[in-house]
Amino acid sequence: MSTITHGYQLIPPRAPPVATEGVLPWLRRNLFSDWKNALGTLVIAALLAVFVPRLFDWAVVNAVARPDNAACRAIGHAGACWGVVAEKYRLILFGRYPYAEQWRPLLATTLMIVLLAASCYRPFWKQWLIALWVVVAAAFFVLMRGGVLGLTPVETARWGGFPLTMMLSTIGLGTAFPLSILVALGRRSRMPGIRTLCVLYVELIRGVPLISVLFMASFMFPLFMPAGMTIDVLLRVQVGITLFSAAYLAEVVRGGLQAVPRGQVEAAASLGLTYWQTTRKIVLPQALRIVVPAIMNTFIGTFKDTSLVTIVSLYDLTGALQLALGDSDWRKFFLEGQLFVAAIYFVCCFAMSRYSRWVERHLNTGARRN
């Protein structure tokens, strides 16, 4: 029992009693905390010791990097044949785009990637960035399509490979995102007409596989067009992808809207702000920051889903790989080709994922205490 004292004295803060930092305490705490944990650590370490050297031998030590078909066949399963990539990389990256003109998709895609990277930087989020996007999108199409400025025309059916993947996902998401915000707001509208329309749109599109949407865009839509009038298949597919991902994004955004407390809207209203001012300045900034991870999840999904356009005979990155592997000399080495394409997808998706983490941290200033 402590005795009751009447004098109050401030107790100065002291350091914790046990050292909890350093390599050994970390190892013990995380890898060898009890016998079950230690056993798991040892089993996993043994598996890694067996498989990592084998993988390394296959991918690096015994691998054939030259585009030498005979050497690749000689090495068999003992080593990877990166020669297939060395031989076919231009076909994989640019699809059926005319060989001599492939500098054009390269330049167009580089422009787009540079602008994408610049758009990630928050101080650049100004009006001129939107204008710049319009300019770059126009430049992209002029370069790809040709027919002006002395560039040979290239029909859209021959566009392919990585530029096609980039175009379908960047333009798709760039237009789907604003659309999804409008749809999400519409689903919460007081006006029954608008609300019903938005609910129908989301439920109809979400209830159908993307493959069906692409088929309909590609084959069914032209049946209803007046005779003689055609819309480019690539445009139809682009619209299909946009509408599809907008439906998913709209639900993500709606989740964010619902997480913003009612009091926020009431406070804005009590200050005389209009609906659109409240939406833009108060609701959306808070709603979107809550759903950044979910938005990026949908973005990454859409990026990979663009590979489904192969079913309507457009050769995106994965489609172009199939073209490249159509060569009977190299067909045997499909695994290496798949790994190459998978690596490209992974780099892009990982970049998106890291960027999403960064955005979360940087937008969180106000939501954190201290």
């Binding site: 407390p261 009091g263 406070a267 009590s270 200050l271 005389g272 001012q277 200033t365 106000g366």
Partner: protein, 248 residues
């Protein structure tokens, strides 16, 4: 009690939530510069009453005029009235993604079309008025509850409203912080602004109110000067209520 030129005039106002009759035949005139405290048990309709004044809630029957304008579905009229009416909420409702200063300048810049520089100056004056100017660059969640509520008062004052509505402004505060908020409200009351305040702070009612209104079950049961209200409550319901809140 009839004011000759009321700034707020309820006449036979009724409101329902579904089938629940939440405001019943409300008749109430508020004179310019009058300070009114509204009290009553929870669910008595007192918050709903003041939220009708800036149309955060719609009444369904009767006529409600604020500063001579009748409240209806006319959006323009509602926005004009909201510029004249400041409101302070129980949960502060500051915008967490904006700094304290941005919370204050948002409405003047977007609603009042005031240039940023002038809006900043005005905001700093209001922050000084509630004695919190040094926190202007912080985010709301970095402040204590009492500080947040004072910022909320400053924010409501930035549009120089004619009427201030307080909806239980101290109910969500730690006991240590109630006084700093009440002090600011008392200062404000002494400067002649029209005030309607839903609160259970009876000390505040005694010292600043011109009139105390007691509500129960959607009705105004009794209204009087604070002296009369506390010493000679007329109805049994009021006596019962007062005995419960003044007991401790």
């Amino acid at each position: 009690m009839q004011a000759t030129d009321p700034i707020i005039a309820f006449s036979r106002v009724n409101k329902w939530y579904g089938h629940f009759h939440v405001l019943r035949d409300i008749d109430l005139d508020v004179a310019r510069g009058e300070r009114i405290v509204i009290c009553g048990p929870s669910g008595s309709g007192k918050s709903t009453l003041i939220r009708c004044i800036n149309r955060l809630e719609e009444h369904q029957q009767g006529v409600l005029k604020v500063d001579g304008v009748e409240l209806s579905d006319d959006l323009k009229a509602i926005e004009a009235i909201r510029r004249q009416v400041g409101m302070v909420f129980q949960q502060f409702n500051l915008f967490p993604h904006l700094t304290v200063l941005e919370n204050l300048t948002l409405a003047p810049m977007w609603v009042g079309k005031v240039p940023k520089k002038e809006a900043d100056e005005r905001a700093m004056q209001q922050l000084a008025r509630v004695r919190i100017a040094e926190q202007a660059a912080k985010y709301p969640l970095q402040l204590s509850g009492g500080q947040q509520q004072r910022v909320a008062i400053a924010r409501a004052l930035c549009l120089t409203p004619k009427i201030m509505l307080f909806d239980e402004p101290t109910s969500a505060l730690d006991p240590e912080m109630i006084k700093e908020v009440l002090d600011v409200m008392i200062e404000l009351a002494n400067q002649g602004i029209t005030m309607l305040c839903v609160t259970h702070e009876m000390g505040f009612a005694r010292s600043v109110a011109d009139r105390v209104i007691f509500m129960d079950q959607g009705q105004i049961v009794e209204q009087n000067t604070p002296a009369e209200f506390f010493s000679h409550p007329k109805s049994e319901r009021t006596k019962d209520f007062l005995s419960k809140i003044l007991a401790h």
